[in-house]
Symmetry: C2
Subunit: 332 residues, 2 copies
């Protein structure tokens, strides 16, 4: 059983998901794998994954776990957390821990093994954003979970272990530290100003224009004022909303428009750059929050920069967001 453990000073929870029998040297740097060989995410191999929890695109007379889907969500075969069991919160002296209960799912973004997410046509990409929404709505009904972390690792350097285009959902019984810190920061701003800090960011960025990458009626893409890396981007709804999973199909279509555009701009600046994106949204079963604002953060993985920052939490960024936004606007 995996275990959730809390750092007694920082309050940060981590998952211990032991891969028993591994030796220390099994954790050393892996080489990039090349394509070829069996892919469990490809159509025709549906029976090699755990049974699907969602699929879009099949017509009525095609059964589940069969080809014909456009987007398919399955439990992770090697989950970091397990779905069955009780949390069993415990103390061990001054330490806190609980069983590693949670859901860990894989969103297979397209049937074609070769396709790259950023190159998906918007009418296909939108299904991925609908899958995130619909899985959050479903997982919210499990009262053991407090948050669903949605993220994508693109490229081996960003942590992707399978080539077939996919993203992941992890339903957690705790709040990830970063989200918790954001909620704290946002509420202290709200208590002082009686305004949402992200709404103020949207207004200032639209007025200044210095860090705007692209936009449409409902969404804004910026390089944030204090970015960790060159080309970090945030995608924010222009109108206040704290819950991603309350977006309509029409809003997700508009989200897809700017998401697709900014990834293509990033790829035009640095072809094939690995990146992570993470959805930031309100905790499960929360009332709508006046002080929080859902958004995506896209962080390119530029290993010439990542280094001690990872250990110290302190970032040195060799490119201003104003310059990065200029490059991104001029790409394409």
């Amino acid at each position: 059983m995996p275990e959730l453990r809390k750092d007694p000073v920082l309050g940060r929870w981590i998952i211990i998901a032991e891969q028993r029998g591994k030796r220390p040297t099994d954790f050393i740097v892996e080489e990039t794998t090349t394509s070829g060989g069996f892919c469990p995410l490809c159509p025709g191999n549906e029976r090699t994954t755990p049974p699907e929890v969602l699929a879009y695109g099949r017509n009525g007379d095609q059964g589940s776990d069969m080809p014909g889907w456009q987007v398919r969500v399955v439990p992770n075969k090697y989950p970091a957390l397990v779905i069955e069991g009780e949390l069993d919160k415990q103390a061990d002296g001054l330490y806190d821990k609980m069983n590693g209960i949670g859901a860990h799912e894989v969103v297979i973004e397209h049937p074609d093994h070769q396709v790259v997410f950023s190159a998906l046509p918007p009418e296909e990409m939108v299904l991925v954003f609908r899958a995130y929404r619909d899985r959050i709505i479903d997982l919210e009904r499990d009262s053991r979970f407090r948050y669903v972390l949605v993220f994508k690792n693109y490229g081996r350097a960003a942590g992707a272990s399978l080539e077939h285009s996919h993203s992941q959902l992890v339903a957690l019984p705790i709040l990830p530290r970063k989200i918790d810190s954001e909620l704290h920061g946002a509420i202290s701003y709200f208590n002082y100003k009686e305004r949402c800090v992200y709404c103020d960011i949207v207004r200032q960025e639209m007025r200044q224009g210095l860090r705007v990458v692209c936009e449409n009626d409902d969404f804004l893409v910026i390089t944030p004022f204090a970015p960790r890396t060159p080309f970090e981007m945030w995608i924010l709804p222009k109108k206040h909303s704290s819950a991603y999973h309350q977006q309509s199909d029409q809003q997700l279509k508009l989200l897809t428009g700017v998401f697709s555009e900014c990834l293509r701009r990033l790829d035009a600046c640095i072809p094939g750059v690995p990146y992570n994106f993470v959805l930031h949204t309100q905790p499960l079963r929360s009332q709508p929050l006046e002080h929080y604002h859902w958004h995506f953060e896209i962080v390119p993985k530029l290993t010439s920069i990542a280094g001690f920052e990872w250990g110290s939490g302190f970032y040195i960024n060799p490119m201003s967001p104003e310059e990065a936004a200029t490059f991104l606007r001029e790409a394409l």
Copy 2:
């Protein structure tokens, strides 16, 4: 002039140190460099670095910036922060920024280009820990600075850009977010328990023995209860102390004993593994703190694990610290 910028939600400061004229593709993943070629850190090349700010090991009649040293500290030739100027704190709408004033120094750990830090004999390694202390004492006199971040990147994957064994000091006009979070967590524990949380950790770890890697009379090395990666280690003084720079030569000798031992144990488990270590100590010009406890954190860089954790602040660790401690104890 580099710039310090604050994230308006998280309160995290980052440095924008622009390398003008760089193109986006200049930030893509670099290949590991091999040895050979000119090394500005080698003896005989002292005139190619900025003038030294500290050197140990020369005898009386050898001049500064000449060979004969054992450990030498010089300003970074390509500093992330600059030493000359005023902070000039400013608002830009809802954002906060200031000039990138600070010191950025390189600690050259040994004259021999080929030497590896973990293989240094303790009587030579101790000079490195004395250099950290003596530079902090000197930098504390500059009232613009609030913190000195001391860290080492070993191996290209951990961010080292020069092969010659070295570590770095960055004097900052702000507190790094991680240290700030630790101070907050530690004081809230103290307010509740009236004890230092790190002292409680030391007591519990010594009693349980499960996560102890090695120890001597004054220092304890553990794998922490909630580690980010396999083989993460913390080195703590057993007796309460919040300020690294108040350690005597004798205490630094004892520190060196366990530091050297645990790095050799790590290297025996995963030969040549890249790592970062970071000194965590109290802010500059602070009174001794009852609630805080200086320590070092050593984080191996295992890229098969690092991935989205970096973007989300959420860690999945495939090895328990109890198992890692067993491997480390049995090594050597």
